[in-house]
């Protein structure tokens, strides 16, 4: 067993783990944060994406011991006094249908917008190329990220049409 301290969503957690424990299992099973999903389990789909020291990583392909001393943020840690602009964007622009890819997609886009606050459509599509969505065809996800980018730069974002 290895003794590790991981800062998850701002809270230090000290645990004894087997070295072979994957970060995604630490998050879901040891810490009960089930917003992070397991899709393909082969680092292809991106459903398990979380931030490690601010950078998106696929937590099915990281050992929990590699996160020792690091800051991990999951989807549960994103909203601070109201939805994050990306969460709002996915809601307003209908960026999800079944929602399975959404937490990973959003965490990936947090990293994307941190490095490139005003991405072009191509840059967004390239930026989410390691995250698969089988419902939306990606168009509304791209719109959701554009919405968040505008909002995070302080622009007025028109409210999406309301359904009577």
């Amino acid at each position: 067993m290895a003794n590790i301290t991981v800062h998850i969503n701002g809270v230090a957690q000290t645990l004894d783990v087997e070295p072979r424990l994957l970060l995604v299992h630490l998050i879901r099973e040891n810490l009960n944060l089930t917003g992070t999903h397991i899709g393909c389990d082969t680092s292809s789909c991106g459903a398990c994406t979380v931030l490690m020291d601010g950078r998106s990583v696929k937590s099915c392909t990281v050992y929990a011991v590699q996160a020792n001393g690091k800051e991990i943020m999951t989807i549960e840690g994103l909203a601070q006094g109201g939805l994050h602009p990306l969460q709002e964007g996915f809601k307003e622009e209908h960026g999800l249908q079944c929602g399975f890819c959404t937490p990973g997609m959003i965490m990936r886009c947090v990293d994307l917008l941190e490095r490139n606050p005003n991405p072009t459509e191509d840059e967004i599509r390239w930026g989410i190329s390691g995250n698969l969505c089988r419902c939306t065809g990606y168009n509304n996800i791209v719109k959701a990220v554009e919405y968040a980018a505008k909002k995070m730069q302080g622009a007025e974002v028109p409210a999406a049409e309301t359904v009577a």
Partner: protein
Amino acid sequence: MIPQAFNYEAPTTLAGAIALLQKYGSDAKIMSGGHSLIPMMKLRLATPEHVIDISGIKGMEYIHEEGGYLKIGALTKEVALEESKLIHSKYPLITDATKMIADPSVRNLATVGGNLAHGDAANDHPAVMLALRASVLASGPNGDREISIDDFFLGFFTTALEPDEILTEIRIPIPPARSGGAYLKMERKVGDYATAGVAVQLSLDASGRCHQIGIALTNVSAASMRSTRAEEALRGQTLSDDLIQKAATMAAQDCDPNADLRGSVAYKRSIVKTLVTRAIHSAVERAGA
């Protein structure tokens, strides 16, 4: 998928990591980003008893020119190469290749040293480094030794690294003026290994003749390979369309692909021919011809 149990070590110095390699020998595997090793461990294709995580060793992430070489620390992450202005301006084939490696989240952890030391001919950096005529620094108990990239890839998942050595640096000769390069990769989808990949780096002299050329191929042979005959056909020549076609045909003849889900042998040879042609044209354009 749960890997077989293993002992985990996280040395904070290179000397400490080498000492652990001496202690555990071939029962140990070095891990940096883990994006080649962990998938193999999850499939139990790799079952090391000891995993030595070197990602915490300081001072092994850098990209700079010094003493006639571009030096890249082995722990440099793919994302750092992708975002480097120096790489983009003077070593465009590295930028091309890095953007095609896996996906953005994988590139946040995966390292260039790991991509080479893994010894997988499906990886993209081996062909890039062959085309650039790089060398790698291997650090072991008796100090460092420089290994030419041509002597590094010995066969299927086999490199010239001794069991107690760690790849610590990549050295690339700084290209002369009027140089250009390109990396082209055919992949079925983002994150896939290459159906075939081609790396080209060339330099032109004042009269427009090609006086240096490197052509290397990804995932069409057991070990990463240089297309020597194609290089020789072009060295010292003015690069006409006919001559480029001839060299591309040689590269397609000389590679040794396997038929698999990505395509038949004939298909892969055809892809190699097309990509060599395009990569040379792109390299010439970037050289400012």
